[in-house]
Symmetry: C2
Subunit: 235 residues, 2 copies
């Protein structure tokens, strides 16, 4: 058993424009000695890896893909480098692997196979947004994406508002091109005095955070930009 | 307005034994230029600050306390350095300020006063545990502490199990000296095949993570140690 590699969960910066220094030395040190990676797609991690590896090291790297098209039976095979004694790194498209991407399936398979799992420190847009919101962090619920269809989405928003009133901050995300529609739905569905928070482009130069009452959301046209955003209904 | 300082939310390592390199260069760079801090108690941050400041800088630091005894009317006064044009840092006892400590009240006051709020990247035991668990990160609920009294706690555990079955990972913490009792309550309250995850001493040399079925919890006496732990019921 001692000859197994470990599975390292390696966070990445939250966008192309992110400050390069958002990863701690402990994370970068482990990254530097791994040669086998599991990624969501083979193209996007190269910019990140090229920043931290020499060309010689890059040439020696092996990448396997785990994405929403991966079948359950493919996952144990992705662990093979660790079973062969090599440390294996999972890299998310942005932020922390396993939080809102297929990385969790690989961590699960590692536990089943007796492969050690080590999570590394890095940026989580969910936690950064919650910290900045000033809403309760004693209890919070992350929902991922809300339903796309407007009636179901407005219903979900009102359900989240009720849960927020019971004390738990309600966090969700949206694809950037639907931010403006989400703001309209929040304005239309929430009580006027319910407090909401929006964080956009966290850790990047164009970072923007705003906490306001639902009735005032229309006053901030900058929140309608098509940029990565986290939304919180206050607890 | 341009002469206001900003409020920076500054994470700290997760324990005395934590690797010193768990904070990114971007966080350390901002820390190095701040002289006014709000802390939970005046003693514990010195070890952390002494690691990053010269003695001259340490002598010039001003610390104010925000803890569970602080009154609501004290909080705007804590913001005064930022209103006077100085950047202000909030430091948690461990991990991310505002997530499970009074820092959130200061972020709220900053939003009300028009003081800019910037969250910095650092270790979050909640996110690290969720990453390592392999449970769903698409939807998760952090509950803080469960009730102390056994009947209420066992009832809470069963409620969390039902919520986990609907797909949301259920995360909570316990004070270290009650870890063994929590494991007993989980074993007694959960269905035998419900999957649970425990992470102990995250980012530290004595880090321990374990995912197993509730019926197998008794097999791992090392989980009964009185060490900081995060518990997850699988989603």
């Amino acid at each position: 058993m001692t000859s197994l590699g470990r599975l390292f969960l390696i966070p990445t910066p939250l966008g192309d424009d992110a400050e390069p220094e958002v990863l701690p030395a402990a994370t970068l040190g482990i990254l530097a000695r791994i040669s086998h990676f599991v990624v969501e797609n083979k193209k996007s991690p190269w910019r990140f890896l090229a920043r931290h590896f020499s060309q010689d090291r890059l040439n020696a790297i092996s990448l396997s893909v785990l994405d929403e098209h991966s079948r359950a039976e493919d996952i144990p095979g992705l662990l093979q480098p660790a079973l062969n004694g090599f440390d294996l790194g999972v890299i998310s498209e942005a932020g922390c692997p396993g939080i809102a991407d297929p990385g969790a399936d690989l961590a699960r398979a590692a536990h089943l196979a007796g492969v050690g799992v080590t999570p590394l420190v890095g940026p989580s847009s969910i936690v950064l947004a919650l910290m900045a919101s000033g809403f309760s962090g004693q209890s919070f619920h992350f929902h991922g994406y809300l339903p796309r269809e407007r009636p179901e989405r407005q219903k979900a928003i009102r359900r989240l508002e009720r849960a927020a009133r019971e004390g738990a901050s309600q966090i969700f995300i949206e694809t950037p091109y639907r931010n403006a529609q989400m703001l309209d739905d929040l304005g239309a569905s929430l009580s006027a005095d319910t407090e909401v928070f929006i964080a956009m482009n966290l850790t990047q130069s164009r970072q923007l955070v705003r906490r306001c009452r639902a009735e005032d959301l229309g006053r901030y046209p900058e929140l309608r930009q098509k940029e990565p955003a986290v939304f919180i209904i206050g607890g």
